[in-house]
Subunit: 415 residues, 2 copies
Amino acid sequence: MRWNLAVDRVPEAWFNVVPHLPEPLQPPLHPATNEPVGPDDLAPLFPMGLIAQEVTAEPWVDVPGEVLDVLRLWRPTPLVRATRFEQALGTPARIYFKDESVSPAGSHKPNTAVAQAYYNKQEGTKRLTTETGAGQWGSALSFASAVFDLECMVYMVRASYEQKPYRRVMIETWGGQVVPSPVDDPAHPGSLGFAISDAVRDAASRGDSHYSLGSVLNHVLLHQTVIGLEAKEQLALAGEQRPDVVIGSCGGGSNFAGIALPFVPDTGVRLVASEPVSCPTLTEGRFEYDFGDSVGMTPLLPMYTLGHDFVPPPIHAGGLRYHGDAPIICNLVRSGRIEAVAYPQGKVFEATVQFARTQGTIAAPETGHAIVAVVDEALAAKEEGAERVILFSYSGHGLLDLGAYDAYLHGHLTD
Amino acid sequence: MRWNLAVDRVPEAWFNVVPHLPEPLQPPLHPATNEPVGPDDLAPLFPMGLIAQEVTAEPWVDVPGEVLDVLRLWRPTPLVRATRFEQALGTPARIYFKDESVSPAGSHKPNTAVAQAYYNKQEGTKRLTTETGAGQWGSALSFASAVFDLECMVYMVRASYEQKPYRRVMIETWGGQVVPSPVDDPAHPGSLGFAISDAVRDAASRGDSHYSLGSVLNHVLLHQTVIGLEAKEQLALAGEQRPDVVIGSCGGGSNFAGIALPFVPDTGVRLVASEPVSCPTLTEGRFEYDFGDSVGMTPLLPMYTLGHDFVPPPIHAGGLRYHGDAPIICNLVRSGRIEAVAYPQGKVFEATVQFARTQGTIAAPETGHAIVAVVDEALAAKEEGAERVILFSYSGHGLLDLGAYDAYLHGHLTD
């Protein structure tokens, strides 16, 4: 069963969780002065429209009409009840997922890429720079740049650039330029940290360019709340009063924020963030100020962190290999409003293969971290003999991750 | 703009075009006797439920409830108006596409795979065999077999098996088995003809197995008519009385049949089949009885053919590399009800890249043959200053064909 909303039901305002936080959000700090970072510090990299969203305390922020027009290419996304998966698990739980894989780039990432490209275009930016690991975010920004007629320069981690060419081709199909990073050392396999450095340095050195980030920051999480807002309306159509638990995978936090933040004010709704045991930021990190990147160029952010020099093992859920997490998510974990769980990737693929064989669709490894947590919730409900409404974010498809499935199916996957 | 139908609007009967054909359909002939092939000849390979559909003259055939339940995992598929593409072309035409890429396997193929798996399961088949070229059909049948708990054995053209592993991994993710073909010559790169031979021989030699074909046959085309039936209802929702022209790419004919056959009785609706100039079956083939496969194992079919030993060049639209075409489609081309056009692949990719940069989604090269024909119709409407309603089948996504885009974008594509 699926619940589709008409295109005029794309949310016309983003939900800002900041007024609902149980504890005030600590500001980012300038690493040289330890003083809060101000708008002027961010102006070389971001347009004022986004900087204003980064610090706003307004409960709702209007979505510009031009952004809505583009989101309507694929939004509202379907809400699907995973009936066949429920049957396979033998659970009394009702499992719903919000299918963000239907976007052009195949994940939730374009929700913010479109908004960021729009505000940059409005303020005269000609060119955007960004980094990408496996390529999910780079392809989303290239698509958004094509729509608003901006140049797009993507610094892609060299190992991915060479071993996973398909995301590079997507970026180029939408007209973006992509180069392997680090740019000044062709022998280096690269890392997200180096790619951020390349992209920031590029944007800061040119008057026509800005930098764009795909997760972590407040305005990025804000843009993703269309996911949860639509899901609320669709759950009502499906006859559900509210979910008992909302689940999402969590790397930098933007996907989890999208599905979960609109439910923060709702009493009785548990929120569960799922991450890899090999990069256990929320479950084992320390809450402290740390750099957002690996080389120490960004402001200091108040977050759970494994240390900005932490190098996670090369697991297949590349989007979850981040040493820190969005300050808003960390704030809510710290206060107990969000629970965090962690899984090894073998269990993740076991769950996604079962999902594929019942529901049909093949999920991204990142999304698999939500699916395996759903399995545990559904089996707990079965054990208790209790009805339970589970909502999760199907954040992306795995069609460009089939090499990982190959490794799992042939026993070559390590945890 | 998109028009979604509720899940209870999946068509509950398939549309049979046979009673509407301007000339009677000639029967397939047994190659040894030149006599029409009867149900007994087909029984070793197909269940009686499908054999009955192959010869029925009933105007509608009920879709079993168990098939509807599975189709509803992704159907009804959206009808989308390509507003941004219209604007880029500067055309007064209104362009709509039916998005079949949202199925688990990423194309229209599961529409018939599910029905075929169901009828086989009903009649006690334990195991299905089939061939696949690049892997689109093999993955669709593996998915359908998973749903109905059948074993699935796919003979995959060896060159694709080795060079395009992702479709193989999809087949395995859904639990199917896949082996390179020809099975008895590991040095041979293989061809669809050899793979058919392997699959037919396997099914015929075992009492527990049947064979399954993804196109050409009457019952396969019948199952695909859900595409056009849904599109009719959605066009009405969009306020359109009828399309002026319906366009689809055409290889074996199942995708084109799906979108076009329900419009055959509708006066004033042009039907345009688009094929590659490198495999110009409908535009340059001869109408005569010929074998359906390359090695001469199948019945003789009345169709346009380039000769069953014709070997098309290795273009990227692998699904359109077939020497013949479905007898029903050929019948309608011969009578003038269907028009046929042909395009070189360079023009195809030019159109699909323009589509990707305006609408967002990256189409399969097969689907690109429809898009380039849409461009010509839209530009003709512009030249005439005439309104025109264009409907086409977006038969599949190109996410596993990005190597072809890479070749095009970097100037390595030949026509």
